[in-house]
């Protein structure tokens, strides 16, 4: 478990809306990509943000990196609202949060050599002399496990895994405090994924990097993250330490997500569908709890009450009033019957 410090990056009631359709003629539909997100990233930790399509995780990543301005709410870096930063202070912030993208090939300028790409940050910030930069580039190459013989190559001459490593090296060039990796291994072959994941884990350890990992793949999360935040339709629905969350998920959506992971063990096949229905669109978000139409434990009030993140113990929160009520009822009456255990150590009935 990495030693975790103070909050370095924080989102406060973050909202991001997109207008679709013509503003002048016809109707406009609003897509609520982020619908009120409060998230804290602590220095030195490795946080995973997990969600499926429409969850808003990529938009959240971009807002956190300062690449997209929110519609409402704020992103704070070291307790300063980044939208208030201008000129020099903005420039200073820029280098502190670096992104890594999903597609290794389009993450690199096809006309630039590896050396040029990695040095770009150093170049724009005017850091060091030419010789210094060359040395730093070489150092970064070795950090990501690439031979310097590749320095003059262009992306189309490299494999997917190599391109992704170049992307990581380029992100580290400016010695950022936070690296936000958006699906860094989804576009890679399985055996190559291992290499890149191991690399990210090692860099997180060695460089004391704060790592935010965006992914839809739960299996990746346990290997590299201390904490997990689960998103659904623009909101965070659960946050908790990785192992605990995976072992005993609280929110019904998290449970469905964990249950839906195909396990490489034919003895434990899914007996039934973990969750019914379609994911739903960020254009027409259900009333009340946004998961209620698909939720197996939905109660009548779930269609009107929009639950906030409720605390379930020391470091766990989940946005589910039904679960919250259930647990407080349990605490009150120890002998109360509680329906077929969905939670429990991994491996029990889902």
């Amino acid at each position: 478990m990495t030693l975790v410090g103070q909050p370095v990056l924080e989102t406060r009631a973050l909202e991001k809306r997109y207008q679709l359709g013509n503003r002048l003629i016809g109707s406009v539909t609003v897509l609520r990509a982020l619908d009120g997100v409060d998230l804290v990233v602590n220095e030195g930790e490795s946080l995973a943000i997990v969600g499926e399509s429409g969850s808003g995780k990529t938009t959240l990543a971009r807002c956190m990196a300062g690449l997209v301005s929110p519609t409402k709410g704020a992103v704070a870096f070291d307790d300063t609202d980044i939208s208030t930063l201008r000129g020099r202070s903005w420039h200073a912030f820029r280098r502190q949060v670096q992104p890594i993208f999903q597609d290794p090939f389009s993450s690199l300028d096809p006309r630039w050599t590896v050396a040029q790409t990695i040095a770009e940050g150093l170049d724009s910030y005017g850091i060091g002399t030419k010789a210094d930069r060359a040395a730093r580039v070489a150092e970064l190459m070795s950090q990501v496990g690439l031979s310097t013989s590749l320095l003059q190559r262009r992306p189309h001459e490299l494999s997917g895994g190599q391109c992704q490593r170049v992307g990581i090296a380029a992100a580290l060039a400016l010695q950022p405090r936070v690296v936000i990796a958006d699906e860094p291994v989804s576009a890679l072959d399985v055996s190559v994924r291992a290499q890149v994941l191991n690399l990210l884990a090692r860099l997180h350890e060695d460089l004391k990097l704060t790592l935010v990992l965006i992914t839809h793949d739960m299996t990746v999360v346990e290997h590299i993250s201390d904490r997990v935040a689960v998103m659904y339709l623009g909101r965070i629905v659960e946050v908790g330490p990785t192992r605990e969350l995976l072992r005993s998920p609280i929110h019904p959506y998290t449970r469905a997500l964990v249950a839906a992971i195909p396990r490489p063990d034919p003895r434990r096949r899914m007996t039934s569908v973990p969750v019914k229905g379609e994911i739903g669109s960020a254009i027409s978000i259900p009333s009340g709890c946004r998961f209620h139409p698909r939720c197996p434990i939905a109660e009548p009030e779930c269609s009107t009450i929009d639950p906030p993140l409720i605390a379930f113990g020391e470091d766990r929160v989940a946005a589910c009033t039904v679960e919250a009520n259930r647990r407080s009822a349990e605490k009150r009456g120890a002998g109360k019957h509680h329906p077929a255990g969905r939670t429990g150590a991994l491996g029990e009935q889902r």
Binding site: A65, L67, H91, R94, R95, V97, Q98, P99, F101, Q102, D103, F105, S106, S107, L108, D109, P110, R111, T117, E120, G121, S124, Y125, H156, E157, L158, S159, G160, G167, A170, A171, A173, L174, A187, L188, D189, V192
Partner: protein, 297 residues
């Protein structure tokens, strides 16, 4: 993904191969042949044009009264026209005008349209609307009408023709580059560049422009083919290059009357025009196909 690894191996081998092997490899790539032939034609024309005074000792305007409407022979491979002037020599010299006006108009069009399209595409929003509306309106005007209007104001001549064609072609190129830029600016490498501290201007010139230029160059080449014919057409109707400067359009005009008795006076300039246009079209098509293939890889 593994196939890209395989191709990487192949390409690594390719870049270390001897030059001749590399040439053949380039030829086999999609568009390779067209680029080679188109480029070859143009290269020959340009060289012949530039070296014209060295290749032929005659003055294009030299009159040989004895050879009026003379058929092609070894002294005058393309025959002589109604004034006794050597057709081949005239063609070589007229290429100077035709090619410079055509290429010049394209370069001028690019100088106008590329910054426009780049800015409009990259900035988006109101900048895009403000810049592109006038461009769209311009495109609505028939080319010939626009050219004639300009020439009516300024007066005929090669330069005016060059400018008119440039203005007519700019909207097309501006649209092409803008479309390219719209795609390029969404690419992760552009967003990464922002994250690494690049200024918007830096991103536009270092990343967006180089990666968006391809389709624009293909289109520009094809527009140059149009330009050659357009400027010949304008000269044909007397609005472009003025006599006695040799020019293909003018030669076509002169050759009309004597077509039945001396067809070579009309045919050779016509062919010359067609071959030059062909060169540019092949080049443009070749570039286009190369880009297509590159995108699929």
């Amino acid at each position: 993904m593994a196939s890209s690894v395989g191709t990487a191996h192949q390409r690594l081998g390719a870049s270390h191969a001897p030059p001749l092997r590399r040439l053949f490899r380039q030829l086999r790539e999609p568009g390779g042949v067209e680029i080679f032939i188109g480029g070859g034609i143009l290269a020959v024309l340009v060289i012949a044009t530039v070296l014209a005074p060295l290749l032929v000792s005659q003055d294009p305007n030299a009159i040989d009264a004895l050879r009026v409407l003379g058929p092609p022979n070894h002294a005058h491979p393309f025959g002589s026209d109604a004034e006794g002037r050597d057709v081949l020599v005239r063609i070589l010299y007229s290429y100077r005008v035709s090619l410079s006006v055509a290429v010049g108009s394209t370069l001028a069009a690019m100088a106008l349209s590329v910054p426009l399209g780049l800015l409009a595409g990259y900035a988006g929003g109101w900048t895009d609307t403000l810049l592109m509306r006038p461009v769209d309106s311009l495109q609505a005007f028939p080319a010939l009408l626009l050219a004639i209007a300009l020439i009516a104001i300024i007066g005929p001549g090669s330069i005016v023709v060059l400018l008119s064609i440039a203005i007519v072609h700019s909207p097309i190129l501006a649209r092409v580059i803008r479309a390219s830029v719209l795609i390029t600016r969404e690419q992760p490498y552009v967003i990464s560049a922002r994250a690494r501290g690049r200024s918007a201007l830096g991103i536009m010139f270092l990343h967006v422009l180089p990666n968006s230029l391809g389709p624009t160059l293909a289109q520009a080449s094809i527009l140059t083919a149009f330009a050659i014919q357009f400027q010949a057409a304008l000269s044909f109707v007397g609005l472009g290059t003025q006599p006695p400067t040799p020019e293909l359009g003018l030669m076509l005009y002169d050759g009309r009357d004597v077509f039945t008795i001396a067809p070579w006076v009309e045919i050779y300039p016509g062919l010359a025009l067609a071959i030059a246009a062909l060169g540019f079209i092949l080049l443009g098509n070749g570039i286009s196909r190369r880009l297509e293939a590159g995108r699929q890889r």
